[in-house]
């Protein structure tokens, strides 16, 4: 896989089917349905302790706005990812072009996905910092690889935004 900036696009080329599939899974991985702990992490309370009135107001007024924000981001990413669909030769490498104006949506969707996967798997800080863990021998290893792969993409996008 190669990743580089070309004018107003971030280009991810030489994508093998495995990595392309991981990218396709970003919107689905960001979903919190059926995972209360992930839902709790994504929509965390605004106070520690008992400020029940504020928490109730937050749930009523702020949370719906955050849901819309997160959903818009995953929809934008989903639309970009449609480049990877279609009549592909199963083993051919693919290229994905992300408009730089979508960078924030990508950062948000990648972050949602990373947080949801990490919460669902209850990864420890030690595991998350173990970037050299290999090979992938279980579903848990695959999820950890997914979190790290999405983190790598985030780092690249952040570096490009910094330029």
């Amino acid at each position: 896989m190669e990743i580089c900036r070309r004018k107003n696009q971030i280009e991810i080329s030489e994508l093998d089917p495995f990595l392309a599939e991981l990218l396709r899974q970003i919107p689905a991985s960001a979903k919190t349905e059926g995972a209360p702990a992930a839902e709790q992490r994504i929509f965390s309370p605004p106070v520690n302790g008992k400020e029940t009135e504020l928490c109730a107001e937050w749930k009523m007024y702020v949370e719906p706005e955050l849901r819309r924000l997160f959903q818009t981001a995953t929809q934008t990413v989903g639309a970009d990812l449609e480049q990877l669909n279609g009549n592909e030769k199963s083993l051919a490498s693919r290229t994905l072009r992300i408009p730089t104006k979508h960078a924030d949506a990508w950062l948000c969707a990648l972050n949602q996905a990373r947080l949801v996967i990490a919460t669902k798997n209850n990864f420890t800080e030690l595991e998350l910092n173990d970037h050299l863990r290999s090979p992938i021998g279980s579903r848990r290893d695959l999820s950890l690889f997914q979190v790290n792969f999405y983190g790598f993409l985030q780092e690249f996008i952040l570096r490009e935004l910094d330029c």
Binding site: I42, S44, V62, N111, A118, F123
Partner: protein, 94 residues
């Protein structure tokens, strides 16, 4: 004589209103350090070195107070931080 207690009551109410609130960001093993720094720069307009100092404080000490002031603004900051998926809360200054 009769007006004195009323004035005292009002003063206490004003003091309560004026008590500042902290915006606190808590450590989270998932969010990238570079991402957290960028968020602090964007939300609070902090220069990079100040944003990095706060990010490191969060990482090493588990939390950092990013801003203190009026409650409404503090809530707005926390809302923005939640929009970036950071663990943030408001706390009343004790």
């Amino acid at each position: 004589m009769s007006s004195a207690p009323t004035i005292e009551k009002e003063t206490r109410a004003e003091e309560a209103l004026d008590l500042p609130w902290h915006v606190v960001v808590h450590n989270d093993p998932v969010n990238l350090m570079s991402y957290v720094t960028m968020v602090f720069q964007r939300v609070f307009g902090y220069p990079r070195d100040k944003a990095e100092r706060h990010m490191l404080e969060v990482h090493q000490q588990g939390r950092s107070i990013l801003w203190s002031g009026m409650r409404e603004r503090a809530e707005l900051y926390v809302q923005q931080l939640h929009g970036y998926l950071l663990l943030a809360t408001i706390e009343k200054v004790s």
